[in-house]
């Protein structure tokens, strides 16, 4: 993957010395603009899914409420905080790579994977607990949406691990370390995080 964005971004050495004014002028697109196009497109698709969910919910509010009561808000909050932490470490990774602290950046990339894995395990445990209680995909319309939204999000998270793998691979060797690719991978990861923030609000919090 090559990117013309590499030329536009402030190089690491310059970054430390840039004055405020130069930084204002030195705006850059984080990672490939192509990834941003994808991110915004996927976000539109998800906005479509969320809208359908809201519409269906307003048709049978009592049914959705009764089903929603079976979810654990605490687990949802835990998952949200963990995924936010993974976004924090992904963002730190990008900053450290830009400052050429590659071994720290590498650690933070691995930390991102760790937090992502915690989310994955927590989600699977949550699903299996719910399925054991008889609350499966077809238990009610709410649960159909619950498994669909969290499921398709889970799939995006798995793809995110591929992106993180590429980031880690980049950071490992001095011959690679393309800042553009690292930022591109991080951009994708953050998307999974903010989509979850919306999913959490719609499935766990809204009444």
């Amino acid at each position: 993957m090559t990117s013309s964005a590499d030329a536009a971004r402030p190089q690491a050495g310059e970054g430390r010395a840039l004055s405020q004014e130069t930084r204002e002028a030195g705006r850059f697109v984080p990672g490939q603009p192509d990834m941003w196009a994808f991110v915004l497109f996927e976000s539109m698709v998800f906005a479509g899914y969320f809208t359908v969910y809201v519409i269906r919910r307003t048709r049978s509010p009592e049914l959705f409420l009764r089903s929603q009561a079976k979810l654990s808000l605490a687990v949802g909050v835990f998952n949200t905080v963990v995924l936010l932490a993974s976004s924090w470490s992904a963002a730190r990774c990008v900053q450290l790579a830009r400052a050429r602290s590659y071994s720290s950046a590498h650690t933070h990339a691995l930390l991102t994977m760790f937090f992502g894995s915690v989310f994955l395990v927590s989600k699977v445990l949550e699903w299996s607990r719910e399925i054991h209680q008889g609350l499966g995909f077809t238990a009610s319309e709410f649960f159909s949406f619950y498994y669909f939204l969290t499921g398709i999000h889970f799939l995006h998270l798995l793809i995110g691990f591929v992106a993180l793998g590429i980031v880690v691979h980049q950071l490992r060797s001095p011959e690679r370390r393309s800042q553009a690719i690292i930022e591109t991978g991080a951009t994708y990861w953050h998307t999974i995080d903010y989509l979850w923030v919306l999913i959490f609000a719609l499935l766990y919090v809204m009444r």
């Binding site: 192509d34 990834m35 196009a37 497109f41 996927e42 479509g48 899914y49 319309e141 159909s144 949406f145």
Partner: protein, 277 residues
Amino acid sequence: MSAPSTGALPEPPSGSLLRKIAWHWRCDEKRELWIGWWTLVVFYNLYGLLFFVITRTQPPPQPSLDPSGIVRWFADRHHGLIYGFAIVFIVGGATAIMNATLAYTMRRMSVSRAFAYSYLVIYALAALPGMLLMGIACTVGAMRPDRDPALLCWLYDFAFLSFEGTMGVFLIGSLVWMAAVLLDENGVFPKWFGYLNLCNALTEVVVAPAWIFKEGAFAWNGAIAWWINMVVFVVYTIAFLTLIRKLILREDFGTGPLPELQTDRAPAARGLTQGAR
């Protein structure tokens, strides 16, 4: 392959469209590529016309129709199904040319030829769930309107599940194309198209609940499983039709990075785009 050619080409003649087309047929080195591209364009338009207007099988009907509703559905569309799918069967072979054109884009990339070949093999199967199974089921259903309603219900489910339901060939095929685009160093396609292939692949996962639900957003005609998926598919199709056209215009028949489109195009290319419009 011939050496990259630029500039030293005869001018297409001015005059009628027929003269221009005849000239391109005889002299244009990109003739086969343009035949491939035009096949794609004509086929997809025809496909839309046949499925949405003539057979009226799209947008799909509800899975929750009762047997008498299904009998009525077939009866309402009797002639459309027979004649529409007859045309689908006749032009079905065009998919070979289309798949070859798509595989060609991968041969032009810097990645291994294995990508193009695996794409071809995967998509050789695509016409089955992509149109033939539905065509067969619907025409069988339409052929004898007095058939046992239980059999018509079977044909109805078979037609729509095979057509709307997850098609693994498109899922894997899109991932192959995605990988090729992202790894390519010849700049054949922009990276965003690689990512768009991922979106297309995911639509095949999104529709998977259609095997379970007979109504609602996840049924084969649902707001999520069909309508939103269709938006993604249409965007994807328009994107690759546009990008392949650009590729053919840029094509230099070399093996290195594909040159960018020049604003002052070579005369042959200019004539082609005029013809293509």
